[in-house]
């Protein structure tokens, strides 16, 4: 390869990676600029306020923040556990055709449009939750504050569940790839000295694939936090904070999706943009904290 081609390639990858901060900066500028009016009017009160009243021009973002955090974390845990477990099964307990076809099918879940997830959620999952799922939880786990109150079907639980399904393909597919890349020799070597399969996976393979798995979880979380349409169809869209998963809620992305195209006066548009800004900063905060925690426990291992 000629020097010129090598240099061109160098330019290419530098340009590609510099695009990332460029885009983030553009987003920050755009959101910051548009949010200025709202920030000036409400200051920090925006993050603590619980009233969202476009008619009287009072805007507070706390219920949306709460909803985003609750549903995203719920889905991260649910899809993380299920996705990782499924990936382990696909990698270590299945072969050939079964593995590849199941893998493809799970990846295809990612191709279903968000609005279709929303509709399925509304037509199928919500009635089931209302009639079967939530009453079951209320009967058996009702002593916990999470499972109290009327079962409407829509609510935080529905929102969390639909997100879990939507980010499952990302987590499963990427975790599977990472686990597949663990060198066979290491796995087989450990088996040869008498470890059970479980022990090998637990002690050798998973730690080896750890940073990749974390990467998969991160991307999954990103998708969960940014999901709009599917969640808004099943979460009830009520800006209220509640300890019960049965209660209707609202998320940052949902309120933007619901009201942005109809907002017509400046402060309103600005408040919605500030919601977007809060979402951006929340995401950055989460990733920053996650990185810090991982860095501390691995000390330098590439993530």
């Amino acid at each position: 390869m000629s020097l010129l081609r090598d240099k061109t390639a160098q330019v290419w990858i530098w340009a590609s990676v510099l695009l990332l901060p460029l885009l983030i900066v553009l987003f920050l500028i755009m959101q910051g600029n548009q949010s200025a009016d709202s920030i000036a009017r409400f200051g920090w009160g925006f993050l603590l306020g619980t009233t969202w009243d476009p008619v009287h021009q009072i805007f507070g973002g706390l219920p949306f923040l709460f909803g985003t955090v609750v549903t995203s974390l719920f889905s991260l845990v649910a899809a993380g556990v299920i996705g990782l477990g499924a990936a382990v099964f696909l990698t270590f307990y299945s072969r050939g055709r079964v593995r590849s076809s199941l893998g493809v099918l799970i990846e295809l879940l990612a191709a279903i449009p968000s609005v279709v997830y929303g509709l399925w959620g509304l037509y199928v999952m919500v009635p089931w939750l209302q009639g079967v799922g939530e009453p079951f939880l209320a009967r058996n786990f009702g002593f916990l504050p999470f499972f109290r109150g009327a079962s409407l079907g829509v609510g935080y639980l529905a929102g969390g569940l639909i997100l879990s399904i939507m980010i499952l393909p990302t987590i499963t597919a990427m975790a599977r790839d990472v686990l597949l890349a663990v060198p066979r020799e290491i796995h087989e070597g450990a088996l040869a000295i008498g470890a059970t399969k479980f022990e090998v996976i637990r002690v050798i393979s998973l730690p080896f694939a750890r940073s990749g798995i974390i990467g998969a979880l991160m991307l999954g979380f990103g998708r969960a936090v940014s999901e709009t349409i599917a969640v808004t169809m099943v979460i009830g869209n009520r800006p209220q904070i509640s300890s019960s998963m049965f209660a209707p809620g609202y998320t940052l992305a949902s309120v933007i999706a619901n009201e942005f195209t109809e907002a017509t006066y400046q402060l309103y548009i600005s408040a919605l943009n500030e919601i977007g800004l809060v979402l951006l900063l929340l995401t950055a905060l989460f990733y920053g904290v996650a990185r810090l925690l991982v860095w501390r426990s691995t000390r330098g291992v590439g993530m």
Binding site: V55, T232, N258, T261, E262
Partner: protein
């Protein structure tokens, strides 16, 4: 074969496909549509954006117009707010909004494009639908009762206020699950306008708007989600566009109007309400709670936004021709999709406004 070759190949493929699609696609479309003689060869085309309420009506009307006059009118329903934004940015030929632009918005648009003309283009009514499988008769509601339900003051179906209105009916002892719109919409505006007009408490506490701070209830995104939430939940009540109840056979009730009559929303009753206000303008546009024996009290217009000064003569002619037609023969298309045609006096007014375009 390395990445560069692959990229070049893909790029070449894309270019070829693009060219192929352009020409092939035209031919393909012509062949496929030969039966309907739909000529796709590029002639004048117009774009519009805005209200989702207008979408089914516009979609049908523009299709028919295209068949007759060979002008492609591309309309995207990005919401009334979006319509106003795009209209102000002049990225579209016309905007459509359920609520006319207020003075601030008009000023902003005028700064960029000169004087603005707002025409009423479509008409709709809202039904009060509910889910009570054990109740076979149609329920009666008064405006006050509806307001109290949405304020959270009436919480059960067998409450005294409801029982009194529906004396022959055995109302169940179920909680009322209130459903409203979560997305900003003209439908909500009309509904909250109605409630504000008849309930001083609502006017003071909540007010009117495309999005409001609902005291109770869950929000569905779009008429369909409201309808579905109502269908899902026994004891639910929700307000939806007329077309939805007509198409999906949901249960909906009588609403008492200003003249004391209990009416169902229908093309007839909504049109009567509209005709009661011949002088409707973009600043005086509310037609809820109109007088008249057969006026349905929860009705409202949708509006088209145009600049008085068009970029050139050809565009002006195309725009004027389109909307003269929309305000004339086009209204006949409304009924085919369960929308309400505009009354004659309103249409005449629109024609007069159109004549002022330059």
């Amino acid at each position: 074969m390395n990445k560069r070759h692959m990229s070049t190949a893909l790029a070449g493929l894309a270019v070829l496909s693009g060219v192929a699609f352009q020409s092939g696609g035209q031919a393909f479309a012509q062949a496929a549509n030969a039966a309907s003689a739909h000529r796709v060869a590029a002639v004048t085309s117009l774009t519009g954006a805005g209200s989702t309420f207008d979408y089914p009506f516009f979609n049908k009307a523009f299709y028919v117009y295209g068949e007759q006059y060979h002008v492609q009118v591309n309309y995207s329903s990005i919401g009334s707010g979006g319509g106003i934004q795009q209209f102000t940015a002049r990225t579209v030929n016309f905007g459509a909004s359920d609520v006319p632009m207020n003075s601030g918005e008009v000023k902003k648009a005028e700064a960029g494009g000169g004087a603005v003309v707002q025409l009423p283009i479509a008409l709709g009514g809202e039904a009060i639908s509910y889910n009570l499988p054990t109740v076979k008769q149609r329920l009666k509601f008064t405006p006050q009762v509806i307001a109290d339900i949405y304020l959270g003051k009436i919480r059960k179906w067998n409450a005294h206020q409801l029982q009194v209105l529906n004396s022959g009916v055995k109302l169940p002892n179920l909680p009322i699950v209130v459903v409203h719109r979560s997305d900003g919409s003209g439908t909500t505006y009309i509904f909250s306008d109605f409630l504000s007009t008849i309930s001083p408490q609502w006017a003071k506490q909540i007010g009117r708007g495309k999005s409001v701070n609902w005291p109770v209830g869950i929000g569905g995104k779009g008429n369909e989600a409201v309808a579905e939430n109502v269908r899902n939940t026994v004891g639910a009540i929700g307000y939806v566009e007329l077309a939805y109840v007509l198409q999906t056979h949901m249960a909906y009730g009588f609403v008492k109007n200003r003249a004391g009559q209990y009416l169902l929303p229908s093309p007839a009753t909504v049109a009567v309400a509209a005709a009661q206000k011949p002088g409707v303008t973009s600043t005086n546009f509310s037609i809820v709670w109109e007088p008249g024996k057969n006026s349905y009290p929860i009705s409202g217009y949708s509006w088209v936004l145009l600049y008085k000064k068009q970029p050139n003569v050809a565009t002006k002619n195309a725009v004027v021709k389109l909307f003269d037609w929309m305000e004339g023969p086009g209204q006949a298309q409304a009924a085919t999709v369960d929308y309400v045609p505009l009354p004659a006096n309103i249409r005449a007014q629109a024609h007069r406004l159109l004549a002022t375009l330059k």
